[in-house]
């Protein structure tokens, strides 16, 4: 079942009178339960595509449907409510709130849902336990390492049990060992919890954690390759083919 359906998607940024096309006439489908890596050189539009899927940006043209909802039809407020329910976003630089503890950071998205205090506590404890940081629940971001901060950010992204998790260079600011641990965690989310993940990365090593690789160049999709663990890549499509 297609979770993300993108048709003829275009995005143009305006800088004064100048128009900068970032995505051009792009089609893409992401099935539920997939782990997709978006790769491409800088300026290829992969982060813009990720932001459009996450509903934090709006397309200039085309259709983007996530979990059956046409995002371009939602008002700002309804889009925010939709994000709270359906999207978990993992940033490259973690973006934890500095004045909140790990527990409070993870609890933030739950404040938007109709949950009691005890339900929120239970959920936060479960996800902090899942990322191995239950013992650091009262630590502030400044008291955590980069890898720990990213694990808290991942816990925050999954705590509301979103329909889709998007990650923008989640290992871009981590050392190799911590990056591997983070990627392993993302794979677990996909394989054990059945979460749909879309991840932007420059790093082929990080991309190898995904089941499908989508390549963008100059705002257009140039390749989509299915990958299986332990198997050779199988090219299933090429843009324009």
């Amino acid at each position: 079942m297609a979770l993300v359906e993108i048709k003829n998607l275009s995005k143009v940024y305006r800088k004064g009178t100048q128009e900068v096309p970032v995505l051009r006439d792009l089609d893409l489908t992401v099935e539920a339960g997939e782990f997709v890596a978006l790769m491409g050189p800088s300026g290829s539009g992969k982060t813009t595509l990720l932001n459009l899927i996450a509903g934090i940006d709006r397309p200039t043209d085309g259709i983007i449907r996530v979990a059956g909802v046409d995002l371009s039809q939602l008002s700002r407020t309804k889009l925010a409510a939709w994000r709270a329910q359906h999207v978990g976003y993992i940033f490259q630089l973690y973006n934890l709130i500095p004045v909140l503890t790990a527990f409070e950071n993870v609890e933030l998205p739950l404040l938007l849902l109709p949950l009691s205090r005890s339900e929120r506590r239970k959920r936060v404890e479960v996800v902090l336990g899942a990322v191995g940081l239950l013992d650091r629940y009262d630590h502030y971001p400044r008291q955590l390492s980069g890898g720990q901060e990213q694990r808290v950010a991942i816990a925050r992204a999954i705590v509301a049990d979103p329909t889709i998790i998007v990650a923008d260079e989640p290992t871009g600011d981590l050392d190799a060992e911590t990056a591997d641990a983070t990627l392993a965690l993302l794979r677990r989310l996909n394989e054990e919890m059945g979460k749909t993940l879309v991840m932007v990365t420059h790093d082929p090593h990080a991309a190898a954690a995904a089941k499908r690789l989508v390549r963008l160049e100059k705002g257009a999709l140039v390749a989509s390759e299915l990958r299986a663990v332990g198997e050779e890549r199988e090219s299933v499509a090429r843009a324009g083919a």
Partner: protein, 377 residues
């Protein structure tokens, strides 16, 4: 909204120095505003008081010491139709000009006083203690607190030596700033051993006829003794005595408004700085699903809480100060109490909330309207 309060609180406490400076600045300015307002309140209480008495004063005289009316005029005044009771009062002040520490003696007939002052409530002493000694004094609560006067204590002010027979409270305007003593003690007997009063306090059968009765009193005294008097309702008498201060107090009201303006700028500056520091944080919140109005309300709550904290401190400081040191501004024997009323407290708190709202609205609106993607960059 309550479940978001810990986030708001932590953001305020997370920037301790900035928040503390803003709260302190707000508190100081609110203190100033409320202090000025307390003077205005005191003045309003005088000018809005129930106008059911007349004051007979010698015409063309200003300072109490310049009005000299023989006490026996009381009989003439009492005979005027519509007059219910007359109390001759000799007023002696230690300072006839505007002062923050004026002591006002009212020399009265100790037997007449209980009937015309039913509102007096004794904190210590009683009427009999006052009536039993010719040098006895009943001291108003505010002046007793200001001067530290206790029952049994003798003191001399403005050349008058009295012994405190009691301390009283009263809800009558300005009365707690008065020291009652015997008219015979301070009434300056004239050549025929007639005592003089400064004024006559006239109670009326029907306050609605005050103007007619006042005119009748002045006409009667002029006719009988060829002495010009000026009889006015008590409120008008007070307004005349305080005329020089009215403009000054009116100007301090503007000073108060300037204080409020400065608080708005101060809090707004703090909220703007906070919003600018946290552009990315607000974008992250919106990414997590916080709507623009939600971010707006969180920022506004921060602004209002900071302002309210300052307002609480400033109001408490002002009320505490005025309770600790009751102050009155007096001129020509009429006192304006600096009133720390419940209304003042409510006004301080409401004002601080309004200030927080006004100061925070624009930066909060900007935070709520910011584009997520550009803010994340």
């Amino acid at each position: 909204m309550l479940k978001f309060l810990p986030y708001v609180r932590k953001n305020i406490l997370g920037h301790r120095v900035r928040s503390a400076m803003t709260v302190a600045g707000t508190a100081v300015l609110l203190f100033l505003f409320l202090f000025v307002t307390s003077v205005q309140n005191g003045l309003d209480r005088i000018l809005d008081a129930r106008d059911d008495k007349l004051i007979v004063f010698q015409a063309y005289r200003f300072c109490p010491s310049s009005s000299q009316l023989p006490v026996f005029y009381a009989d003439t005044i009492q005979a005027v139709p519509g007059v219910k009771a007359v109390l001759p009062v000799k007023v002696v002040v230690n300072n006839c000009r505007a002062s923050l520490d004026t002591v006002v003696f009212h020399g009265v007939d100790p037997k007449l006083l209980p009937a015309v002052r039913p509102n007096v409530r004794f904190l210590s002493g009683d009427w009999s203690a006052f009536q039993s000694r010719t040098d006895a004094a009943l001291v108003g609560r505010r002046i007793a607190e200001r001067r530290g006067l206790q029952p049994g204590q003798s003191f001399t002010i403005a050349g008058i030596t009295v012994q405190v027979a009691g301390v009283f409270a009263s809800d009558a305007i300005g009365e707690e700033n008065v020291i009652y003593t015997h008219l015979t003690l301070i009434g300056n007997p004239g050549s025929h051993h007639d005592f003089h009063a400064t004024l006559f306090e006239v109670q009326l059968d029907d306050p609605q006829h005050a103007t007619d009765v006042a005119a009748a009193i002045d006409a009667k005294i002029r006719e009988k003794y060829e002495v010009p008097t000026e009889t006015k309702p008590q409120k008008a008498h007070y307004a005349g005595a305080l005329a020089d201060l009215l403009d000054l107090i009116g100007m301090t009201r503007w000073l108060g408004f300037v204080c409020v303006g400065v608080v708005v700028v101060l809090v707004a500056n703090s909220v703007v700085m906070s919003a600018q520091d946290r552009v990315k944080e607000h974008a992250v919140l919106q990414t997590l699903g916080f709507s623009g109005p939600r971010v707006f309300s969180l920022m506004l709550a921060e602004s209002c809480l900071i302002s309210l904290a300052g307002g609480l401190l400033g109001t408490a400081a002002c009320v505490g100060f005025l309770e600790w040191r009751p102050m009155s501004l007096s001129t020509e024997g009429v006192s304006i109490d600096f009133v720390a009323s419940g209304t003042l407290v409510v006004a301080g708190l409401v004002l601080s909330l309004v200030v927080g709202f006004v100061a925070g609205a624009v930066p909060a609106w900007q935070a709520g309207r910011a584009e997520i993607v550009s803010s994340l960059r």
